[in-house]
């Protein structure tokens, strides 16, 4: 290769790198990710039965749609097993770092608002040593295996995104695998 050609190749190389430099700067922050597993044991469970509000809502509502009917037994109770739309359940959990449930890791709270077919939108927060992680998603009543989307967090989890997967873990415990991405730290 002639020197002139070599010089042109090198000029091209310099130009390519000079163009790549702002691209790297503008490519956006690479962000930290954390994988965290905690084991949860339910501490309290409270059910809010909104039967009267449901019945009232059939007759008095602002919409023209045909609202779901509330079917009552002869004793005045709703037919079938709930939870019914509008009911909510609050769960609190103690969290542990290990499957033996010996090392405390914090607490969690789930508020689940029931809709149709015993499915609920659950809003949760995990109060951990390094901060709070918020997660939300749909859970079917009685289901131990579900996944929630992480919507944010505080402190070490500031800007958190990702998801939380839940599976049953032995006696009366749940395993939560938190895959946290997008945090500032």
């Amino acid at each position: 290769m002639s020197r002139a050609m070599s010089a042109r190749c090198l000029t091209a190389a310099v130009a390519l790198l000079a163009a790549a430099l702002p691209v790297s700067a503008a490519s956006g922050a690479a962000s930290a990710s954390h994988n965290l597993t905690v084991y949860a044991v339910p501490n309290t469970v409270q059910f809010m039965n909104h039967a009267d509000d449901r019945l009232r809502g059939m007759a008095t509502n602002p919409f023209k749609f045909k609202s779901e009917s509330v079917i009552l037994n002869d004793n005045g109770k709703e037919k079938g097993q709930g939870p019914f739309p509008g009911d909510d359940i609050l769960y609190t959990f103690k969290l542990f770092n290990d499957a033996k449930l010996a090392k405390p890791a914090g607490t969690a709270l789930f508020t689940c608002y029931y809709e149709f077919a015993k499915r609920a939108t659950c809003d949760s927060y995990f109060d951990l040593a390094k901060g709070i992680v918020l997660a939300s998603g749909v859970v079917k009543f009685g289901q131990t295996h579900f996944t929630l989307g992480i919507t944010g967090g505080t402190h070490a989890y500031l800007g958190a995104l990702g998801q939380v997967s839940s599976t049953a873990a032995g006696k009366n415990a749940q395993r939560f695998d938190l895959h946290v991405t997008g945090t500032a730290q």
Partner: protein
């Protein structure tokens, strides 16, 4: 300059650019776009939803199994609350200055109480020109300030993430400092 010198000079520039590009990439990995916004809020109304009857009904009429029913909270709660299942809805006006003279929008907090005067609150802040920020998180009503998580937004705040720190301010207001990562 001879061609050989020119080639060597170009080679040096290439090497320097590689070093700088690498540093920029590493530095960028630790940095994040950052926005801050401060507004002042004043509560203009509150509606409290006392779900005492639903809670009592739920103790005896529920689909939980016996193991879960044994985990029902032992303490019945207070007559006035806040008790688990109650809801507090706050309407707020927003201002861009601490003297509360320049309107900046409005906000609503919907707080679902759980235990020990804690609630999981969902908030939206409607700012000028249709810009909205949404946030949620746990709030301890025994404390005068709180920090909740910014989870999203629209228009100028599309995809927003970060946090909103709320502290008491003059004139019965609260100062809200938004720290947005994007």
């Amino acid at each position: 300059m001879s061609s050989l010198e020119g080639v060597r000079r170009a080679a040096f520039i290439v090497a320097a650019l590689v070093a700088v590009a690498g540093s920029a990439f590493v530095a960028r990995a630790g940095a994040a776009p950052h926005r801050a916004l401060t507004v002042y809020s004043v509560a203009t109304g509150l509606q409290y939803i006392n779900s005492a009857d639903d809670s009592v009904r739920g103790k005896v009429n529920n689909p939980l199994d016996s193991t879960q029913n044994r985990l029902a909270p032992k303490h019945p709660g207070s007559q006035n609350g806040p008790n688990a299942g109650d809801i507090a809805l706050y309407a707020l006006k927003l201002f861009s200055d601490p003297t509360l003279k320049k309107p900046a929008g409005s906000a609503v907090y919907t707080c679902y109480f759980n235990y020990n005067e804690h609630a999981l609150c969902q908030a939206y802040y409607k700012l000028a020109a249709g810009n909205t920020i949404v946030a949620s998180g746990p709030i301890d009503f025994k404390k005068s300030g709180f920090t909740i998580v910014v989870t999203g937004g629209t228009k100028r705040y599309l995809g927003a993430r970060g946090e909103a720190k709320v502290v008491p301010a003059a004139h019965n207001a609260q100062r809200i400092d938004f720290e947005l990562l994007s």
